[in-house]
């Protein structure tokens, strides 16, 4: 049976994806994600092995204990406000990358911006000269 260390769980998709018996259920609304671990007797330990946060351990089956559920508020994108990630996941990214890569050439902390806006920002930057040149022509 699974035991969850709430301080280490990132709220990612790994354990719910790898569990061969659908014992781990993920639910997502507009601004929250919750993960629910059902009591399982399989003891296959795939979820333990593939948890990036090392938050899961296997403990002996106990019919009295509650099935753990964790709920995360989804962080809002700094540019468009769309909810796109859990905070522990973003902090984990910050911890994995050297400091100089966490701000882009304009000083934007891109980790706190959603992927859609990241593409927009990159596209606008790349096309800036082109857009200026073309819009001047059409005045």
């Amino acid at each position: 049976m699974i035991k969850v260390d709430a301080s280490k769980c990132l709220g990612c998709f790994s354990c719910s994806n790898v569990c061969p018996n659908q014992n781990i259920v993920r639910e997502e609304t507009q601004d929250k994600r919750s993960i629910h671990w059902k009591k399982c007797k399989e003891e296959c330990d795939l979820c333990v092995e593939f948890c990036p946060g090392k938050a899961l351990t296997l403990v002996p089956f106990d019919p009295e204990s509650e099935e753990p559920t964790l709920t995360f508020d989804l962080v809002a994108c700094k540019i468009c406000g769309a909810r796109y990630a859990t905070e522990p996941m973003l902090r984990r990214i910050e911890a994995s990358l050297p400091a100089e890569l966490q701000k882009d050439s304009t000083g934007l902390s891109w980790i706190w911006v959603c992927p859609v806006c990241r593409r927009s920002v990159e596209a606008e930057r790349a096309a800036k000269q082109m857009v200026l040149g073309r819009s001047r022509k059409n005045l």
Binding site: I111, P115, C117, A127
Partner: protein
């Protein structure tokens, strides 16, 4: 090494998007962004030298293979960290992760071949030479007539 875009040639037809999706079983890795009314730019995986997606990947599914940022799907658990670790938003997760693999197994990437405007290329030398020649022409003609 990544696919280079000559933005002055992009006509916003989205053929690269449709082709990429088609050759990768319905999961495309290119997004054409319209910059207002005046330009369009396809955003590709840059195959970064310092690839942040490989740094965030805990299973080793994403790794550097020479200049290419490679992906071994059998090691992926679909955790979603790579999607958040890409500064350009070009790693997607859809159960498992997927991103541009420079069309391994094809002689020329599908997007490069299919681009009707001939805006994409894997040859950085040729692409920058052409851009320099065009800039020189602009200067020679005093910015046109």
């Amino acid at each position: 090494m990544p696919v280079y875009v000559d933005i002055s040639r992009c006509i916003g037809c989205r053929s690269c998007e449709v082709a990429c999706k088609r050759v990768h079983g319905g999961k495309g890795h290119v997004n054409v962004h319209m910059a207002g009314d005046h330009a369009s730019v396809p955003i590709f995986c840059h195959h970064c030298e310092e690839a942040t997606c490989t740094m965030a990947c805990f299973s080793g599914a994403l790794y550097k293979d020479g200049e290419r940022t490679a992906f071994a799907v059998e090691k992926c658990t679909g955790c979603g960290l790579c999607r958040l670790a890409c500064p350009f938003g070009v790693v997607w997760t859809d159960k498992l992760a997927h991103k541009c693999d420079l069309c391994q197994g094809r002689e020329t990437p599908a997007c490069v071949m299919t681009c009707p405007a001939n805006a994409l290329s894997t040859d950085f030398e040729a692409a920058s030479k052409r851009a320099r020649a065009r800039a020189a022409l602009m200067v020679a003609h005093g910015g046109r007539i």
